[in-house]
Symmetry: C2
DNA sequence: GATTTGATTGACCGAAGCGGTTAACGGAGG
DNA sequence: CCTCCGTTAACCGCTTCGGTCAATCAAATC
């Protein structure tokens, strides 16, 4: 690709990225025309082909940038270091929302690209994905303290359930093309509050040792 | 449309429906070629145009059939009459799974069609949808008995949360193109069991009047 | 003011794909 | 042998595709 792309004003770069995410997230690779991307970005198709030598290079650049941006944002959020489970979920969601505010269609693009079947790009996607997965640390449910939660609860299931609910909540917006990050945040906050009330052990309940009961 | 379509063996009709759901669920209306549908269905494009006079008619027929089939299946499931909240959720999910076994892509098709923007079909979709919504009864959370659940819980939020979690669980399969209805059912069952343990009031807890404590 | 330079684009190319039609095929029934 | 009818390959005119290129234009340089 043409290195002059990086000399463009940041806002113009982002406009091009977002146009690409948008178009590629709505149709499979083969049915996503470059001309449509150029139109969304507000530039001519010829200029887009001036920065990227062909459609495939543009697509793979989008994929790579999307992965890198996500990893960076997640690491900066501190979601991985946090001890508190709810705090870590909150940090993760904050990062997700920050991404969505800058790149509304990046998430949908990532899902679609990950499951893309077109032989022209699928191999490159998969191999670069494996690379990222190798670096990316696995989740770490084992570090939480079971005594914090109501007795007898299946923690694995609880975590799974919380994950599904937050995904379902987000999808509610995404599937109708609504990018209201503030609305999502509000809904998510309500979810977390609800979880805390339901899952966390109430002080003074039949724990083996309740030292704090002021 | 050609009434001879209905004289076709049922399995062939279903193959055509499924081919249509599949293709139209993966790209927007305009980018979903009829030829591809014919290929999936295992017939020639000419024959498809023999049954449906054009692409639009085929699309709207799919939409209409999808709506009718869903409504029928939901009504038969008894999900609307059930008093027990979990029982009603279970019936609903059973119906959903039965549909998915027969028409794997119908759900994705319905979502995509509902949000379709193409002026050639969007008006017809919207107006027929309003028709269905007028008939379809609204949810009825008010009928459940708050005393069955742990005290102080926000029932509205609980219902919302359960809905999101089940949607998120399903989406986990759908987004990766996996139609394993058995797997979905197993996951969903585990969800319901988890909910029952967490949300239902344990006998002997501090209710205002615990008459049953044998 | 003339000239160079580099970003940007309208117009274009051959190829492919689109929705839709038609003439012909082929097998079953009379 | 002919007739019917479900079925299709081949075709049509048109649009759209990925990609190219010569021309445009404004700013920098002389």
């Amino acid at each position: 690709m043409n290195p002059k792309f990086f000399l463009l004003p940041e806002e113009k770069q982002r406009r091009i990225l977002n146009a690409g995410y948008r178009v590629f997230s709505q149709s499979p690779y083969r049915k996503s025309p470059v001309s449509e991307i150029a139109e969304y970005a507000g530039i001519s198709k010829a200029l887009l082909f001036h920065y990227f030598k062909n459609k495939k290079e543009l697509y793979l650049y989008l994929w790579d940038t999307c992965a890198k941006t996500t990893v960076r944002e997640m690491e900066q959020s501190g979601a991985y270091e946090q001890k508190d489970l709810f705090g870590s979920m909150d940090s993760g969601m904050q990062a997700k929302l920050r991404l969505m505010r800058q790149y509304p269609d990046m998430g949908s693009f990532a899902v679609r690209a990950f499951y893309e079947k077109d032989p022209e790009v699928s191999l490159d996607i998969q191999s670069s994905m494996n690379q990222y997965l190798a670096v990316h640390a696995r989740r770490k449910l084992q570090e939480i303290n079971p005594d914090d939660f109501i007795p007898g609860i299946d923690l694995e299931m609880m975590y799974q359930e919380m994950y599904w609910a937050s995904e379902g909540c987000l999808w509610e917006y995404i599937k109708r093309g609504d990018y209201d990050a503030d609305g999502m945040e509000k809904d998510f906050r309500k979810l977390v509050d609800f979880w805390k009330k339901v899952y966390l052990r109430k002080p003074g309940e039949d724990g083996s040792h309740d030292k704090e009961n002021v």
